[in-house]
């Protein structure tokens, strides 16, 4: 940003912040952070032209600007609307937004197969997080869901179109990283599907990145398929001397074994630096890498339970409601889960929790089971 760029004041959910002119509402909200930030399923700051499609980031503009204070008549996509000086925006404080977002989540799940138990993305899936945080607990559709057959995109990537939310991120990624338009959308409406032209394998050294930009389990890494659940693997940052890319990656390990290699992602789940296929698919030995240490994960997900940085503290009422546990992960699994045990204080574990932390005390687990049994 040049020094001349004027600063605009924008107020989001009663928090005022100054941002350079041209900043979108979403990015201004990201500066504030926490629950003030609208969820974004299609916008990706690294991909030009992305955003505007999924409609999860809708917000209410209750005051257009200082000059023209009229509110905007409709909810707007915060990822594609730039701030004006004196603008006032409502995200979580607007019942209209909450309601509309619930509708959007419902629509995104309408034809989703809900196959999380067999999906490799489960545990780091933005759609899981989204429906958990903004959706409702039941579904109102009684219709058969649209299905598509799976498709292999090249040797290492599998496409599950049934899980796709058509965010177009992979399309932008494939076009912008590879410079070729081979990956796109066929058909339209609820039969639109991601495909390659036509059934072509994508041969490009960087094409593996489409897996990382995909917010759901539609594009998955075949070398990791069904090998492990992400929450059993421990993410560590690592690097190697790579002739093709920066070589800065994240390894997902269990013990000494490298199960998966991905790019490093920032706290919005966006790739920091694209990595090449060689690093991603072929370097699966710990000895291939220089390990830097446990990754810090800021996103809300089971990998980072209660660990994310700069988290907004829960409102006390909510905490009381859910038996003194922190919200966000409030599925009622506490009674039977091996994961959420009272004697394990997740915030005391260095780095993200990982399966070993839960296995350590087998005795406690056993006793707990007895206790649960007795309660019944």
């Amino acid at each position: 940003m040049s020094e001349q760029t004027p600063k605009f004041k924008v107020t989001i959910d009663n928090i005022t912040i100054e941002v350079p002119a041209g900043t979108t509402i979403l990015n201004a909200a990201r500066e504030i952070g926490g629950d003030v930030t609208p969820p974004a399923m299609c916008y990706y700051s690294k991909l030009e032209g992305s955003g505007g499609k999924c409609r999860t980031c809708l917000v209410e503009v209750s005051k257009g600007s200082e000059k023209d204070p009229r509110p905007m008549p409709k909810l707007v996509a915060s990822c594609r609307t730039t701030v004006m000086d004196g603008m006032e925006v409502k995200n979580m404080t607007s019942p209209k937004v909450v309601e509309a977002r619930k509708g959007v989540v419902e629509m995104q799940l309408l034809n989703h197969p809900l196959d999380c138990p067999v999906c490799d993305q489960a545990g780091e899936c933005h759609l899981q997080d989204l429906s958990y945080e903004h959706g409702s607990s039941t579904t109102r559709t009684e219709f058969e869901r649209t299905t598509f057959s799976q498709e292999d995109i090249g040797e290492y990537i599998q496409l599950h179109k049934t899980r796709c939310i058509l965010c177009y991120r992979c399309v932008f990624a494939a076009n912008q990283l590879t410079g070729k338009r081979e990956h796109g959308v066929l058909m339209r409406g609820d039969h639109a599907e991601i495909s390659t032209f036509i059934g072509k394998a994508l041969e490009n050294e960087f094409i593996g990145n489409v897996i990382d930009v995909c917010p759901v389990g539609a594009l998955t890494d075949k070398t990791f398929r069904f090998k492990n659940r992400v929450w059993f693997t421990k993410p560590v940052d690592a690097h190697r001397n790579c002739p093709t890319c920066s070589g800065k990656t994240r390894l997902w390990m269990r013990g000494e074994e490298v199960f998966r290699v991905t790019a490093r992602k920032d706290k919005w789940g966006e790739v920091e630096e694209w990595i090449c296929n060689d690093c991603r698919f072929h370097k699966k030995q710990a000895s291939d890498w220089v390990i830097e240490g446990p990754s810090k994960i800021d996103r809300h997900s089971v990998i980072s339970q209660n660990h994310y940085q700069g988290a907004v503290e829960a409102q006390p009422e909510l905490v009381n409601e859910i038996i003194g546990k922190n919200p966000k992960l409030l599925f009622d699994i506490h009674e039977v889960s091996d994961v959420n045990r009272e004697e394990i204080d997740l915030s005391k574990i260095n780095g993200p929790a990982h399966s070993d932390n839960f296995l350590a005390n087998q005795k406690a687990k056993h006793e707990r089971k007895l206790k649960v049994g007795r309660n019944k």
Binding site: G51, G52, K53, C54, R55, T56, L58, K74, L75, A77, R80, A100, G103, V104, E106, M107, Q108, L110, N111, R140, T141, F143, T146, I165, L166, Y168, G184, V185, M187, R188, G189, D190, H191, A192
Partner: protein
Amino acid sequence: MKLLLENAHIEGIRYYEIYRKHGGYRAAEKALKMAPDEIVEEVKKSGLRGRGGAGFPAGMKWSFLAKPEGVPRHLVCNADESEPGTFKDRYLMEFLPHLLIEGLLISSFALGSNLTFIYIRGEYAWIVDVLEQAIAEAKTNGWLGKNIQGTGFDCEIHVQRGAGAYICGEETALLESLEGKRGNPRIKPPFPAVQGLWLRPTVVNNVETLAAVVPIMNIGGEAYSKIGVGRSTGTKLISACGNINKPGVYEIEMNLSVEEFIYSDEYCSGIPKGKKLKACIPGGSSVPIVPANLLFKTAKGETRYMNYESLSDGGFATGTMMGSGGFIVLDEDQCVVRHTMTLARFYNHESCGQCSPCREGTGWMYKILKNIEYGKGKMSDIDLLWDIQGKIEGNTICPLGDAAAWPVAAAIRHFRDEFEWHVTHPEEAQTRNYGLAHYAEPLSTVTV
């Protein structure tokens, strides 16, 4: 008064010689002697509003066109006409191709477009030939090409066929399609007036809008603005269809009452077999349906006229919209549920699938409506439909989402009992192709 279709009946008016003999290209002669900005001023004065559906003032749209130094500008004529019930542009282009070409020439000159496009609905294949012939004739006679009539102004017009997608009628999807891409609507802003075709400033107007520039030049903006009423100036083409004695394209002055339009012999000539009027969709499939009792009189008891303001009087609660002028009449035997289902199927089929509420919601509404229509619905489905349409409306990228939501909302708003009848009479709903027969009973049984 007829301004557009005045000469439509003349034998051979499709050809240059005859068109010219009947006063054709006189408006162009006049316009080419004016300064481009003066033409824009005339169009502004005329009060002409876009005839493609939204009714946005054409002159204002033109004055928003960005004019950065050294960047070409374009005019694009939207001839995609795919809205169910709308077939006025087809008539105009088929019978009076030179009227459109003349309008395009004047508008291109006013806006400074040296390369102008007609994006035409793919199914109108034969009209492409008609237009191309007219373009060739206009070129031969010095109305297109280089240095038009010695003014130094160059203009080429290309006709581009669409490939059968309703969504490509939405102006930004149209531009994408014209660029050879998938016809997905763009996210606005930027608007086409700033970044349109190939990111250059572009004006997109409907066929009828651009054709109306010819009479505006002929009689002057001031005189044009005196025709009609209030902000509904000039004449409007209405394509009337459904249960009427004389379906077709009519040119009306916008101070005509809806009642007269349906029952007068000059226009639709009433409803066949003496049936009663049940409902009407006055502006193409996207606008809300209105029951007979709200069609001739507004909720305030005033006469309803065929114009932008009067048709939308009462908002969506008791009014509707002028839309594109696709006038669909339903008599007492028509089933509103079935009708709504058909429209829902259309929008489901035509959604581009970019944004989740429209992509998923349109299909969901169609499936529920199908259940209700075929006697498999539940009472709660009606409320669910209402809720779904509310989740789509206003939350999408382009107005197709709204267009899919409005017909469903209006049908439930005004004909809820008919939906309920389908739920409570599942057997009958399957064997009869209409809902509550003689529904019109409690409504007025108007005749002229």
